[in-house]
């Protein structure tokens, strides 16, 4: 039982990651796929921050108190970088989707494939 409580947050985070992965695989809409990617990314951020948490700790900002326990700052730094890079990735993906919509007049993956099958040269 104590194990289940200690690992509960990891399990929910894995559930959320799999929700994002499922959207990316099973949905044909390109924007929906990128939404799934965002879901997956945020869940991974959550997983990292979970690993940095120390029971009874406080935010890693130095104060004049030697008895204070700090949470781990290293995962925070990694995730700060990852958040910004993640937004850059989705921005490029969305720009590509806008261009695809202009060329094919659809953002559904299977319809784009059908159009391309009709005219292999284009």
């Amino acid at each position: 039982m104590t194990q289940a409580i200690g690992l509960y947050s990891y399990w929910i985070v894995i559930l959320l990651m799999m929700a994002g992965l499922y959207i990316m695989i099973a949905r044909y809409n390109l924007v929906k796929k990128i939404i799934g990617l965002g879901l997956f990314q945020t869940s991974i951020f959550y997983l990292y921050i979970t690993m940095g948490k120390v029971d009874g700790g406080t935010a890693p900002i130095l104060v004049e108190d030697a008895t204070l326990l700090y949470s781990n700052p290293v995962p925070h730094v990694l995730i700060l970088t990852a958040i910004v890079v993640g937004v850059a990735t989705s921005a490029v993906a969305l720009a590509l989707i806008v261009r695809i919509y202009e060329s094919f007049d659809t953002i559904e993956e299977d319809e784009i494939k059908a159009i391309e099958a009709q005219e292999p040269d284009s």
């Binding site: 409580i5 200690g6 509960y8 947050s9 990891y10 929910i12 985070v13 894995i14 959320l16 799999m18 929700a19 994002g20 499922y22 959207i23 695989i25 044909y28 809409n29 939404i35 799934g36 965002g38 879901l39 945020t42 951020f45 959550y46 921050i49 690993m51 948490k53 120390v54 406080t58 935010a59 890693p60 900002i61 130095l62 326990l69 700090y70 949470s71 781990n72 700052p73 290293v74 925070h76 730094v77 700060l80 958040i83 890079v85 850059a88 989705s90 490029v92 969305l94 720009a95 806008v98 919509y101 202009e102 060329s103 094919f104 007049d105 953002i107 319809e111 159009i115 391309e116 005219e119």
Partner: protein, 202 residues
């Protein structure tokens, strides 16, 4: 108490994720994704990651949502219904998730102070002890970000710059709404006939 708040927020996240899966309206799904980021930011505060929380609230929940809404204003708001949900995808996701959960059984429990990530003498322990005198700022995250892992941050800046160049070269500086454009035929379409019209003839 802290753990209880974290668990409640996690449960909220799970509910929002289910909402994103079932919702067919893309606008609603984008707003739910923003809500998801915001709840995650709240949970980050509970887990002492204040810097990550405000970055997530501003960038993940704010800028990201605006980018999605901007993209949706050029495309369609509705995801087309599909008859059969992919069984293969479901099986793949369940197997992957099961393997990951099996992997967590060996992981240090939530909040443990003696886990390797917390106790390695050259990483977190050293940063907490000497960053105040070595670098200066009281915020340890700032010290690590700008000094100990400065090249990492430089690389991040390069990635953002490259992404900006990529978006500009894909879209150009001037952008018009699709309805204002002169009627232009997409490759693969019969000129003057939309795909919907072709279908409605049969």
């Amino acid at each position: 108490m802290e753990t209880l708040v974290a668990i409640v927020l996690l449960t909220f996240l799970a509910i929002v994720a289910v909402g994103i899966i079932v919702l067919r309206d893309l606008l609603g799904a984008v707003i739910l994704l923003g809500l998801y980021s915001l709840i995650a930011a709240g949970a980050f505060v509970v887990m002492d990651a204040v810097d990550v929380a405000f970055t997530e609230a501003a960038v993940g929940s704010g800028i990201s949502t605006i980018l999605f809404l901007g993209a949706l204003s050029f495309t369609k708001h509705e995801q087309k219904p599909r008859g059969n949900d992919s069984v293969m995808a479901l099986i793949f996701v369940i197997v992957t998730g099961g393997l990951l959960i099996y992997g967590t059984l060996d992981m240090p429990h939530y909040g443990r102070a003696d886990s390797p990530a917390q106790s390695h003498p050259d990483l977190a322990v050293r940063f907490i002890e000497v960053s105040g005198s070595e670098v200066g700022p009281p915020n340890i995250v700032t010290s690590v970000l700008a000094s100990y892992r400065g090249y990492d941050t430089l690389g991040e800046t390069l990635v953002v710059f490259a992404a900006g160049i990529a978006v500009l070269s894909l879209l150009g500086l001037k952008r018009r709404r699709p309805e204002e454009e002169s009627p232009e035929d997409a490759p693969g379409d019969t000129p003057g006939v939309k795909p919907d019209d072709v279908q409605s003839q049969y």
